[in-house]
Point group: C2
Chain length 287, copies 2
């Protein structure tokens, strides 16, 4: 997906957010914004939003002299999510359609996203996603794919959301015997999950954790490592979590199922769906 | 009120909105945004947001070669508001506390604001304001002031909102015998009311329409005409509509009552009130 003009204020908003989280005073926030205002003039609308976001955050981290402004927020949501794990796990065990419940929980974890919004009510937002009708629901195709394909590349998204991913991954490994590779970011970007976060969530007990080799919110293929690209290119089934990964991969000719919550007006308009929609969508060019 | 870093993305958002309303394609929207990104670097946080907004829109109108990008939207809301007038007028006539109902209606009209947001549901938003508790409610002081002061300077705000102001102005003229001067903007800025809009709302039947001499969203005193400043400086009672006028006048030592709906997180934080609050507030330095 390309970048739209409406993305530009959102990038600027994010830069001020990062400066605040890094403890910057108003002068520092203004300074960061000014640097980003300069950067935004060079942005190409043909690039995907996550590519632009990645390049912007390189500038921001350097300016703020802070390699990970979102660290303390990530720690907080890691702990919150871990504390919810037992209840979520029980929910799957006692549900009629365990896979569907696990899918819902994995999408529910996608509400944890500091890129699109900083404030959310974890518990109520999660309960909302668990009950809401899917706006796109390619569930039968998803089940068929799981039955036919043993090896899965699972593209992770955010810190904390990793715990919710674990629920689905446990289900896939246990009920379908899937062999899963779980891809994380090479280094911190916004609140995206790195290896450390995936391990903290316990994902390494059920999946092989691999790095995308890049640090963009959403897999930007041109920035990924050769090792990751070899795995990606030959994957027979890909589960892609989060709006960012949808933004970068929606037009790619790969067998992807996108699981995410629509979190901004731009993606809502692009998908012709209401903002807030939850989606289990098979890629159009899945082949 | 000063400008906060969080205002900067909102300015940028507004510039893209203006380009869209002027019929600009994505290239034009990006071009407008880039020009505003350059401008934002020169913004002083010590200036009020409406002063910055005014200077930004000067640049935008020139760039878009369009003296009034919001014209068609203003026409739409003028007509919508006029169509609501008979019902609103009846509501006042049949209410127990006519002044309070008229005040509520005047504030309800303040939901029509393309600066803070472009999308709103006029009818439901108005009904919401008519029922909601005031977050600040200096009503007794307001009534006492009306009883003591015959001459009122009423600072108008937005197009369409003018029709709702007329309801209050009719009540003040009829029940309190007030003599009112209604101040509008000298020329178009966002969807702020000009003389033409005030006349269309029928305000000239109950008040003398005057110009502030400037075209900023919110009265920026340094840009106002000498004629307006003479009236403003000697006014014994000022009714100020809208968030913009609060942003520019809140610290001024004048006898002002502010009537508005809080429409953004920055003003909400400044006032220590929830976003969406409705306010009838006597100026702290009213003297």
């Amino acid at each position: 997906m390309k970048t739209y003009p409406d993305c530009l204020p959102c990038f600027l908003r994010q830069s001020i957010q990062a400066a605040k989280l890094a403890g910057g005073d108003e002068a520092s926030q203004k300074n960061t914004a000014d640097e980003v205002e300069r950067f935004l003039q060079s942005v190409k609308l043909t690039d995907s939003p996550p590519k632009t976001s990645r390049n912007m955050h390189v500038i921001i981290r350097k300016l703020l002299k802070n390699p990970d402004p979102y660290k303390s927020l990530k720690d907080k949501y890691n702990q919150l999510a871990l504390s919810m794990y037992p209840v979520l796990s029980e929910k799957v065990k006692h549900s009629k359609d365990r896979l569907l419940t696990a899918v819902r929980i994995a999408i529910a974890g996608n509400v944890i996203d500091f890129g699109a919004q900083l404030e959310f009510e974890l518990n109520s937002d999660i309960n909302d996603v668990l009950c809401r009708d899917f706006a796109v629901f390619d569930y039968e195709a998803f089940k068929r794919a799981l039955e036919r394909k043993k090896y899965i590349l699972y593209l992770g998204d955010n810190t904390g959301e990793t715990v919710f991913d674990r629920i689905l991954i446990e289900e896939l490994a246990g009920q379908y015997g899937s062999k899963i590779r779980y891809a994380v970011k090479e280094s911190p970007i916004i609140n995206d999950a790195t290896r450390e976060d995936a391990v903290l969530a316990g994902i390494d007990n059920y999946a092989e954790i691999i790095s995308s080799g890049c640090n963009s919110p959403g897999i930007v293929l041109e920035y990924c490592s050769k090792e990751f690209m070899d795995i990606y290119s030959s994957a027979k089934l890909i589960i892609s979590k989060g709006q960012g990964n949808f933004e970068t991969l929606n037009a790619e000719p790969r067998p992807v199922f996108f699981l995410f919550k629509v979190k901004c007006g731009v993606v809502a308009a692009f998908m012709k769906l209401p903002n807030g929609s939850i989606v289990l969508k098979e890629a159009q060019n899945a082949g």
